[in-house]
Symmetry: none
Subunit: 195 residues, 4 copies
DNA sequence: CATGAATGAGATTTCATTCAT
DNA sequence: GATGAATGAAATCTCATTCAT
């Protein structure tokens, strides 16, 4: 792994556990086994380092999300996949996701805007995706006739709650994926079919 | 408003928008139109200031929550009330909630532990409350026989997602309360009754 | 002397002898018997400290210069006084003048513009003053009919050469004042009168 | 132009506009379109780079000046030529002269001593030259009987003021050469002859 | 001739906090 | 209750310079 990569990884991990401000460049350098100036050789500064990690996290998420968007499956299968994606991604990049979950909220008003932009993008994409799923499912009769817009927004918040819960280790998550899918399944599937 | 109150309000607002570390005592003093030493006259230090704000927020929330716990109603009515409480509380104390939602995530691992404690308490109480509701509802046949523990945990995450969404102004929330209640209603209520 | 004054004096002296960049804030603090942060309490930063010294130097010069402008005397007396002023001011504020002479040339293109502005002001005022003296002297027949504009510009450069020579200790300056006055006297005074 | 030349030119220009210390090797490299290590391939270091530029400037000046020293002409003609030389040299090597005028003052006390040495040399040579001219002119009765030593020193300062004025573009210099020559002419030439 | 990566040394600046009044 | 002045500790960042290739 290149030293640049090591710096990124180390920083991501430290930022995630201690927070951005509580992590010093000296500490990053020490743990990454490089000298401090090297950080400044590869990155414009501590902020830039943070930004790049966040951007990487978001774009890794989005690139996975995009494969979902292209999948052809029944509406509910698509929703299931979206929920499963949350759990997968946290396992694939725990540091990055933990960092996003913990550091972004306080940085939504940052001038640089990386967090705000990422969050907005994340929300818009989810909302559009869910809106499409719901509309389609209702049309085919697979779903109950729920109000599409509002339910999509709600589910964005829900799903965000789940990914945060897992990313920040707020509690046990065994079976949580399955439980979440079932919860939505019962809520959305047309009663006639259920029965 | 007393200067002490002004300091509290100003600090809460700054912590919420910029995060704890990114907010300096100097900035608080300037925006509150007081001098820095006055902050130290009223509070032990920056941490203490933060702690007091957070504690106020959490305890205001908990005191409202406790009235719920004492209410006698059907299981689903209790769940509905819990969801409605989220929306009410954000409207009643928008600054405090925004602060908790934005500044706590980055401080969950702080030595002082105020945030961690508050969040833990919040989760435990919700989980216990929901576990009780679900168990009761299943026993009476009002609810589908869902796995109690797991579903309670999941709903804690869900509800947390909602309150954050609203507290941090992440999007439009008209009808969201109703939509959230309906979403849970469809998911939990026994199909026989529904049908 | 207040600590702020001590800082200003110490910095002026160090900047003048070592140059701006070669002087560290640490050194200023040590020699002024204060702590480094105190410098930042009283001044915005090292640049601001420099700027304030320069501005003080220029404005002290200008305030003295203004008394000249108001004096009523024969044209040549006025020129004599201008030349004498150069020597007086360097003796009154040697550090400031030395600093201006040594540091400003390289800072004429600084974004902050303090030096550029000071130099421009200094030149314009001198030029206007000399233009007036020359025109008047020529009109009264006291002076030879020299080209006014050009000679005024030239004398600005000339006088600047002298003040620099003295401020930077480039050589012996005993009698220099008198010699300079005489040099101009011979050049300007009408030959008929001289003879 | 060889890369070495480009480095020299770029550095000269940057040193002149920003000063020595405020110019970084990185900036030189960037603007010269080379990499930093290349600077170290061609020069011992930043100081050496500066030194070489300055030395080139001074020695180019001196070599021109030496031709003056050898010329046989009347005392005033020699003075005229010295003044004209200032104007010629700035037009021939504007960058170098600007550099000397702007960067040297701040480096007169440098341990390396290039600037100090150059300036001293420049002053001494001028002083000797002017002393000789004045003594000769007085002896022959061409000049007024001015005090030789002092007037020579003064004229060094004077001439230095002029070259700086032009090198640093401090104002319009049309006719300035002629005006300067005339100014000295009137001051030095014997009144009997003038009349 | 040329460079990407790396570094030792050190400078400026910030910040929470305190003291004397 | 209130403040101007002051500070210890430490963080971010810069810079000239070198090494390996």
């Amino acid at each position: 792994m290149s030293k640049k990569q090591t710096i990124l990884k180390t920083a991501a991990s430290l930022f995630a556990t201690q927070g951005f401000d509580a992590t010093t460049t000296q500490q990053i350098a020490r743990e990454a086994n490089v000298t401090e100036p090297l950080i400044y050789y590869h990155f414009k500064g501590k902020d830039d380092l943070f930004t790049q990690i966040i951007k990487t996290g978001f774009s890794a998420y989005l690139s996975r999300f995009e494969t979902l968007e292209q999948s052809r499956a029944t509406p509910f299968e698509q929703i299931r996949k979206l929920i499963e994606l949350q759990f997968d991604i946290v396992e694939a990049m725990p540091d990055e996701l933990r960092l996003i979950a913990s550091a972004c909220p306080a940085r939504l008003h940052d001038p640089d805007g990386t967090c705000a932009e990422g969050v907005r993008e994340y929300q818009n994409r989810h909302k559009a995706y869910l809106t499409r799923c719901l509309a389609e499912g209702i049309e085919t009769g697979e779903f109950e006739p729920v109000p599409v817009e509002e339910t999509a927004s709600l589910m964005v918040a829900y799903i965000n709650g789940i990914i945060r819960y897992k990313a920040m280790n707020l509690g046990d998550t065994d079976n949580m994926c399955r439980t979440a899918v079932d919860f939505c399944h019962r809520s959305l599937m047309n009663g006639n079919i259920k029965g």
